[in-house]
């Protein structure tokens, strides 16, 4: 047989990983053939991230074996794995924000001795970038890059280290449709160079672009199929264990009075250039305004200005007649605006805080949670336990540290908090980024419920499907300006896609 002449690039046999009594992976076995894209598919907590962490040496499996080109290997650290040519691109990037791209790439290498030797390295990295047509400014500081660009840095870093098997954890979570296409083209080019890819994802469309699909549920493999043999609905029912409907039933409600009014708003970016340029829009009661756009076109700055952490240069922000221009976050929150940030562990949560502390973050002075200057610990605990119940947050107790939770559960803490404190308006920036189908369905439902209750909702998403499914009106943002506003149902993905790329279209409503 052919497989005996060429052992698989990577083989996992009966791998089991326990966390206390909880088995994150049990008895997992599969093979990756060289030059193939294998996709690990599964819901949140299905064990995808744990499995990949075992493969890249971040965790050590409790039992089972890993073979690399037929040779049994034991990784005690990611360093061992990279020495074997296995490199991982994590979902939460591990880059030093204040350093340049090239410094970050060179940082992990061991062969630079005392001097960094940046020039020769720059040459090598540039060649890598040219080979795979990745455009990257090597001398930009990481904090200046968009999340999508930071991911390219991680990928180039892993390639530069000489990885032959790349493990990518939810790589398209931070990319636009266009960028995702580009990523897949590059991944395909890598496989023709005899590199192998393990892709972690739950987006069915892209899962089907891989060669082999391994479906995980509750730590076990429930399916191992070739992509050509299955359909999207086969995969969902394997993954969730039941058929799922992402089509939301959006009731027809006539929007009410204007709630959030933004007029001629101009906001500067960190670099001092105008990121939001003379922007005006209005959101009414019972209305969801979708903001479609490629990340880095001013969405972050717009939301930061609306929540009060970034001062505006010009223009006005009003919430049902109250002027919130130049107001800080405290006033914005007090006026009934809730914010669901795109980068939850950066701007939404304190990782070292417990669930109960994060669920009242920013609300600690409210009379429900404090008697004067003293925290009312019983009320906080009751509130947190109630939030855990209502939002189905999976945590051992209200005292569990938040940074040990999965992205979906962390997001639910934010939802619980913001939906409690907000009374008029919800600002949601990429609320489903990095979450899996079950939770996306949940987030959609809850946004629609709030719409029924009379909230004005601003929803930015790179997932055009989300925008089309939820919004009453859709605004397309490009380079800090609104290219056009459409009624839902009077537009389609193609038209929005063109506008997102900056092309003007006739018939703007």
């Amino acid at each position: 047989m052919q497989s005996e002449q060429h052992p698989p690039h990577l083989e996992v046999r009966k791998l089991t990983k326990m966390f206390g009594a909880l088995s994150a992976n049990s008895d997992v076995s599969f093979k990756v053939v060289r030059g193939e894209i294998l996709c690990l598919l599964g819901e949140n907590g299905a064990g995808k991230s744990t499995l990949s962490s075992c493969l890249c040496g971040f965790y050590q499996p409790d039992s089972g074996q890993i073979f690399c080109d037929g040779v049994p290997v034991l990784f005690n650290s990611p360093r061992d794995a990279i020495a074997r040519g296995i490199g991982m691109v994590h979902q939460h990037f591990v880059l030093v924000q204040s350093m340049t791209v090239i410094e970050n790439i060179v940082l992990g290498t061991h062969d630079h001795g005392w001097a960094l030797g940046l020039d020769e390295t720059a040459e090598k990295i540039r060649n890598l970038c040219i080979h795979y047509s990745i455009s990257l400014d090597l001398y930009a500081k990481v904090w200046q890059l968009s999340v999508g660009e930071q991911q390219w840095v991680e990928i180039v870093k892993v390639l530069f280290f000489g990885a032959e098997l790349l493990i990518l954890d939810e790589p398209t979570a931070v990319l636009t449709p266009r960028e995702s296409e580009k990523l897949f083209a590059i991944l395909r080019k890598m496989t023709t160079d005899h590199l192998s890819i393990i892709l972690i994802s739950h987006k069915l469309g892209e899962v089907l672009q891989s060669d082999q699909i391994v479906v995980l549920r509750k730590g076990k493999i429930v399916g191992n199929v070739r992509a050509v043999d299955v359909t999207e609905s086969d995969l969902t029912s394997m993954m969730v264990g039941r058929p799922i409907m992402l089509r939301t039933n959006r009731k027809d409600i006539t929007p009410g009075a204007p709630m959030l009014q933004v007029s001629n708003l101009t906001v500067l970016s960190d670099k001092g250039q105008s990121a939001v340029n003379d922007m005006s829009f209005t959101v009414h009661e019972h209305e969801i305004l979708g903001i479609a756009g490629v990340s880095g076109n001013g969405q972050t700055e717009l939301f930061e200005a609306l929540v009060g952490v970034r001062d505006s240069e010009a223009g006005r922000i009003q919430l049902s007649g109250v002027d919130l221009t130049h107001q800080g976050p405290m006033d914005v929150i007090a006026n009934g605006i809730g914010y669901i940030p795109d980068d939850r562990f950066r701007s939404g949560l304190v990782g070292s805080f417990s669930v109960e502390e994060n669920v009242i973050l920013g609300l600690q002075k409210r009379e429900e949670f404090a008697d004067g200057p003293i925290l009312n610990r019983r009320h906080i605990r009751d509130f947190a336990e109630d939030a855990i119940d209502r939002f189905g947050i999976v945590a051992r107790s209200v005292q569990t540290r938040t940074d040990t939770l999965s992205g979906g559960n962390a997001q639910k803490i934010i939802l619980a908090r913001e939906f409690w404190s907000a009374t008029k308006c919800i600002l949601a920036n990429q609320p489903t980024r990095g979450l899996d189908v079950g939770i996306i369905e949940y987030v959609h439902q809850i946004l629609l419920e709030k719409r029924c209750e009379g909230f004005a909702i601003v929803l930015a998403s790179e997932e055009l499907e989300d925008i089309l499914a939820l919004s009453d009106r859709i605004a397309v943002i490009f380079k800090g300006q609104i290219m056009g506003v459409f009624r839902a149902g009077e537009t389609n993905i193609d038209q929005l896609g063109l506008l997102m790329a900056g092309q003007m279209v006739e018939n703007v409503a």
Partner: protein
């Protein structure tokens, strides 16, 4: 066939028992290492440690002495904890301690009031002196973005040299004084003893009070919550309405006030004079105390007491076993090192793994 081997893995949570065990192991190891050091230096380490124990805990009077030594360390330890819990790296406790004692002393040079007014005034002046210096570092950070480490270290020097100037220029020195020290602090400004015949003075009670207040402040109040949120993630804190500039200035002022109180407690409760050498080293010792105590106020009380006992016992050891009390500074550093090492080690555990072959 099954093969067992052992694997090191990270613990999810060390827990309170783990922390306590870690403290015991660290202190035990530190004593063994210090014993070796004493032996190498040619001393009888058993006799020396026995003298140390007697000096620190031998009599009630000695225990009181240990507590008196612990008081300023508790204050500087708390000062470090407040700043570090907010992840503001102030190492200006030494300068703030000096500043507190100096401002308090300044008032005694011209005020002539009964003790019932002077003592509270002196205590307030200590907090004010330290707090102003701490607040200055905060302002330098928020206004001019001067690194807090840099500004606090610089201010340490500036204040120490200011005292040096006030002494050598004889502004604060009695005309017939030979040593570089101020005149004795008048009786009515000194911190009174807690009861007749006690060695414990008001400063020790203040230290206990400060420990309890800080414990409540950090863990139970809305301000403590905001402070810890700021320390944990300043970006998220800002999104949730915690203003970073305000937080930095408040935290550094509070931290400075605590260090300043430490200066008053030592100068007005024990030394009754100001001199550079009397107050030297409390800042760095406080840093060690706070780090060992994991920045928790109640633990700081305990660690400060251990360090106070070492200092008190060290003096006795010097007399009885002829061991230089400088060894005590070495021991404090050795304890810190073992603490840091064990705190990393205790995050892991050894587990037996059975493997089928």
């Amino acid at each position: 066939m099954t093969i067992s081997d052992y694997r090191i893995e990270k613990r999810a949570d060390v827990g309170m028992i783990g922390l306590f065990a870690q403290a015991l192991v660290a202190i035990a190891l530190a004593f063994i290492a210090s014993g070796l050091l004493l032996t190498v230096l040619g001393f009888d380490s058993v006799a020396a440690f026995d003298a140390l124990r007697k000096g620190a805990f031998g009599t009630w009077r000695n225990v009181q002495g240990s507590l008196v030594h612990a008081a300023p360390l508790a204050f500087t330890g708390l000062a470090v904890a407040v700043a570090f819990r907010a992840r503001i790296w102030s190492i200006g406790q030494e300068g703030q301690l000096f500043a507190g004692a100096m401002l308090a002393y300044f008032f005694t040079t011209f005020l002539n009031l009964p003790a019932i007014i002077t003592v509270p005034l002196v205590i307030l002046a200590g907090a004010l002196g330290g707090g102003l210096i701490g607040g200055l570092s905060g302002k330098l950070k928020t206004r001019f973005n001067v690194d807090v480490i840099v500004s606090t270290v610089m201010l340490n020097y500036i204040i120490a040299y200011l005292l040096s100037y006030l002494l050598t220029s004889r502004i604060w020195m009695a005309p017939d004084e030979y040593y570089l020290q101020t005149d004795r602090i008048p009786q009515e400004a000194r911190l009174p003893n807690l009861w007749r015949g006690a060695d414990l003075h008001l400063g020790v009670a203040l230290a206990v009070l400060a420990i309890i207040v800080l414990h409540v402040l950090i863990n139970r109040t809305t301000f403590g919550f905001s402070m810890r949120a700021f320390g944990g993630n300043p970006v998220a804190a800002r999104f949730k309405g915690i203003e970073p500039r305000r937080m930095i200035v408040i935290v550094l002022t509070l931290s400075g006030a605590l260090a300043g109180l430490g200066g008053v407690v030592q100068s007005f409760g024990v030394d009754f004079r100001l001199s550079q050498t009397f107050l030297y080293g409390y800042g760095s010792a406080g840093l060690i105390v706070a780090v060992i105590a994991g920045l928790r106020p109640l633990s700081i009380g305990l660690v400060a007491f251990i360090f106070g006992a070492l200092a008190k016992g060290g003096l006795f050891m010097q007399v009885m076993a002829d061991v230089s009390s400088a060894i005590i500074s070495a021991m404090q550093a050795i304890i810190l090192m073992f603490f840091l090492v064990t705190s990393v080690l205790f995050q892991y555990r050894l587990r037996r793994v059975d493997r089928d072959v």
